[in-house]
């Protein structure tokens, strides 16, 4: 046989071996496991490569001994050295990279609180398991957010699954973490996993995730997973309060609210004040009284008062979330009177007055576009200095049912108490401190706030806390001027909207309130302001000008310019 033909065939076999070897290495990289197929690829590839090299060894030897061969080896070595240096530089720069967010609202930046948690408090690997069976827009946003988490901590790992594209992997995860199709993420450590539902986080219209809410959800799940402090919330029962466990549609219950609290790493328990020997338990972080319908006895009110005044082991006074129900009875004149629960008087001590004179008449509602109920306040509501600004804005004090307003008492015993306004909805996520001591300041602040919100459901309550003991400021106090260990109270005129089924906006409101009470202030609106969507209308008289510029003037300019150059060169 012709020796050249043998050498050519051997070269071909060698090249094939190189390809198979390369394929094996790729397989090894992609599947992350050296299976039998990978081993076969590598072994078979190496054998063929050796055959190819063996039959052509003399030619190869001669080539590399020639001047050209020596240059080639030198060039390959130099290039390899350069590539190595460049890979090292890139590795170092990747490990020490900085991501700078140049958007006006810093919308792609995690809050300081989250960064602090993932940078300083994580000491174990946390895997974020992502459900990729979501809309493309949501997936892109979620990736961006997860990248931010990854960027700040080496302990954050990511796994992805798609139940339709990769059912096997999804089945494994399903067994390990009780996956459901509604889950967006699982935040898992070696021993524990917390799921995050996609429902409340993905905007149904734009199909994009709400950045700050998703960040908040991941933050809470991280806390839950790494066993950080769990706040305990006690729900009072025994006065007609809705059940925390019942799922009956006919009976009022707050089961959804409680389930949500459990998902958010809170621990929840129901207590009856009459059955308590030693007052409210010492581990109580927040006492929740939601929609009682019967009057509290004197000793029960004293227990609540005692809880608010006494410091716990951490030196912190009590926190109360009080939402009063809708209790009216008709008097002999045919007017509806408020049935007192007895807590109203106690609340005056804390600067909160439940004012029956400011009832928003439930009958005075109109339907907006057949969709949303708007509560029309009665005239005296509009005249009150605090609530007047709401009169012309479609903001009600509760989502559904008849409702009352809250106001600071005219003569509060302690004029240094903060009167705060907590609001929340899917778009608003802030506490507005109404600490002006004159009605005009309060009014101005409210007006500023109202100018920011639109005609969407917002929830309003009055919050109370004390300034720092050494604070001499009496006006324009900020959140930093308040004593974090003082008693904190949030009062709601009508808490019927907290009953199941709870709306997303109501849940946000409740979430923000609880976080304020548990001193997790930073979590209230962990994200940035949601950027205003860019939208415009091109005036008709300008539309054709813009189109002329875009489609004719700009492209034709270069043709014209090219023509001049060509003509000048020709002459």
């Amino acid at each position: 046989m012709n020796i050249n033909l043998v050498k050519s065939i051997a070269s071909f076999i060698g090249a094939a071996g190189l390809s198979i070897l390369f394929g094996g290495i790729l397989l090894l990289s992609f599947t992350n496991a050296a299976g039998k197929s990978v081993q076969l690829h590598i072994i078979f590839g190496l054998i063929l490569l050796f055959i190819g090299v063996g039959f052509n060894s003399r030619s190869i030897w001669h080539y590399f001994k020639s001047q050209k061969g020596k240059h080639l080896i030198y060039a390959i070595l130099i290039m390899s050295l350069h590539i190595y240096i460049i890979v090292c530089i890139n590795y170092i720069s990747f490990k020490n990279r900085k991501r700078i967010d140049y958007t006006q609202t810093k919308k792609f930046t995690l809050s300081d609180k989250t960064i602090n948690l993932i940078k300083n408090k994580l000491d174990q690997d946390i895997t974020l398991i992502m459900n990729e069976n979501i809309h493309e827009n949501s997936l892109r946003d979620l990736n961006e957010l997860i990248n931010q988490f990854k960027y700040h901590s080496k302990y954050i790992k990511v796994k992805r699954y798609h139940p339709l594209k990769d059912p096997n992997n999804a089945a494994i995860l399903q067994r390990a973490y009780s996956l459901k199709p509604s889950h967006l993420l699982i935040v898992a450590s070696e021993t524990k996993g917390t799921s995050i539902d996609k429902g409340p986080l993905i905007d149904k219209g734009t199909k994009r995730i709400t950045w700050f809410k998703t960040e908040q959800a991941i933050y809470n799940s991280l806390l839950n997973t790494i066993n950080a402090k769990r706040y305990k919330i006690y729900f009072i029962s025994g006065h007609g309060e809705p059940s925390t466990t019942s799922k009956s549609r006919n009976k009022p219950n707050v089961t959804q609210l409680v389930n949500w609290l459990l998902n958010e790493n809170y621990s929840v328990e129901e207590i009856n004040l009459n059955k308590l020997d030693k007052g409210i338990p010492k581990d109580c972080d927040v006492l929740a009284i939601i929609n009682p319908t019967r009057r509290f006895q004197k000793n029960e009110i004293e227990i609540v008062d005692q809880y608010l005044r006494t410091k716990n082991k951490e030196g912190k006074k009590g926190c109360l979330f009080l939402a009063l129900g809708s209790n009216y009875e008709q008097n002999h004149k045919g007017r509806w009177d408020w049935i007192s629960t007895g807590l109203e008087e106690l609340m005056i001590e804390y600067g909160i007055q439940f004012n029956a004179n400011m009832i928003i008449e439930p009958t005075l509602t109109i339907k907006q576009m057949g969709m949303t109920s708007i509560y029309l306040p009665s005239n005296h509501f509009g005249k009150h200095p605090i609530t007047e600004p709401f009169f012309h804005n479609k903001v009600s004090l509760a989502l559904k049912g008849s409702t009352r307003s809250l106001s600071p008492p005219k003569q509060s015993r302690n004029t240094r108490r903060l009167m705060g306004l907590i609001t929340s909805s899917t778009e608003s996520k802030e506490i507005i401190d109404l600490n002006g001591f004159t009605n005009s300041v309060k009014k101005r602040r409210l007006n500023e706030y109202i100018s920011k919100i639109e005609s969407k459901n917002h929830f309003i309550s009055i919050a109370s806390t004390d300034p720092k003991p050494n604070s001499k400021k009496r006006k324009n106090l900020t959140a930093d001027d308040f004593d974090p260990n003082s008693a904190k109270v949030i009062g709601i005129g009508n808490g019927l909207f907290l009953n199941s089924p709870i709306s997303e906006a109501a849940r946000d409101y409740f979430s923000n309130s609880i976080k304020w009470l548990t001193l997790e202030n930073d979590l209230i609106g962990t994200g940035t302001d949601i950027s205003k969507k860019v939208s415009f209308v091109i005036p008709e008289n300008k539309e054709w000008i813009y189109k002329e510029i875009i489609f004719y003037l700009m492209p034709l300019f270069w043709i014209f310019f090219g023509g001049i150059v060509w003509w000048r060169r020709k002459n």
């Binding site: 350069h82 489609f551 270069w558």
Partner: protein, 244 residues
């Protein structure tokens, strides 16, 4: 330095003396014009998009223009000189190989930047209509320039490999397509390190980040290092003619 400047100037002149420069510019402005007009219309509709207005041109559709522009700009850099034999004249002149490479690279890069400058008229129109966030526009434009310079260096390398302009442009086109689409592989691989590498190498993700208003320092280092590597490899290829 003077040699680099002279070669860059000559290269830039040769772009503007040839009709292809104007054809490329016109086609480019028609494509970006269509994209911009679509953007304007989408922001007037009831369901306005959530992204920044210039994100389409500087981000999500940026790869379309790159695939067309870069091979067209770079294919003739060395291939043409090799085919006509002018390269021998150039390299026998008292200039160093690296000066020739840098001169040609700067010439092509300046032409690329000139190509993108008219898109600021779109930004001006946008400011007439609304007040967009200037941050993402500036970072988006920076991304366009940096990624363009990155690909220009690769195009220059492809051009040095062959004397056939078509082959040179095909090589360049393939490399750009691979680098843009390699990010898709990150979803396929199980190995997390490899997935991170793919994500880091993929320029589609980079251009989206820039157009959203995010600057990642590691991207910039990556571009600079690949530009240096490509230019170095081009110099070695030019030197290889002396080997035999």
């Amino acid at each position: 330095m003077i040699a680099i400047y002279a070669i860059a100037k000559k290269e830039l002149q040769s772009y503007f003396y040839s009709p292809i420069a104007y054809v490329v510019m016109t086609v480019f402005l028609i494509i970006t014009g269509i994209l911009f007009n679509t953007t304007l219309e989408s922001f007037q509709s009831e369901f306005t998009p959530d992204h920044e207005p210039m994100e389409v041109i500087y981000g999500s559709s940026f790869w379309i223009t790159q695939l067309i522009l870069i091979p067209t700009i770079t294919m003739r850099l060395f291939s043409e000189d090799k085919r006509t034999g002018y390269i021998e004249v150039l390299l026998s002149a008292p200039v160093k190989d690296y000066e020739v490479v840098l001169g040609k690279y700067f010439g092509a890069s300046i032409y690329y930047i000139i190509l993108w400058l008219p898109t600021w008229i779109y930004v001006y129109i946008l400011f007439q209509l609304t007040t967009p966030d200037i941050g993402p526009i500036l970072t988006g434009f920076l991304g366009v320039i940096l990624i363009g310079l990155f690909f220009t260096s690769i195009g220059l390398l492809a051009s040095a490999l062959t004397k056939n302009q078509v082959i040179s442009s095909v090589i360049c086109f393939c490399i750009i397509a691979i680098i843009f689409s390699i990010g898709k592989l990150k979803e396929k691989v199980e190995n997390e390190t490899l997935s991170t590498i793919f994500q880091q190498v993929s320029l589609l993700d980079h251009s989206l980040d820039f157009s959203k208003g995010i600057i990642d320092t590691s991207y910039i280092i990556y571009y600079i290092s690949v530009i240096v590597l490509s230019l170095f490899a081009t110099v070695r290829i030019l030197e290889s003619r002396k080997w035999s």
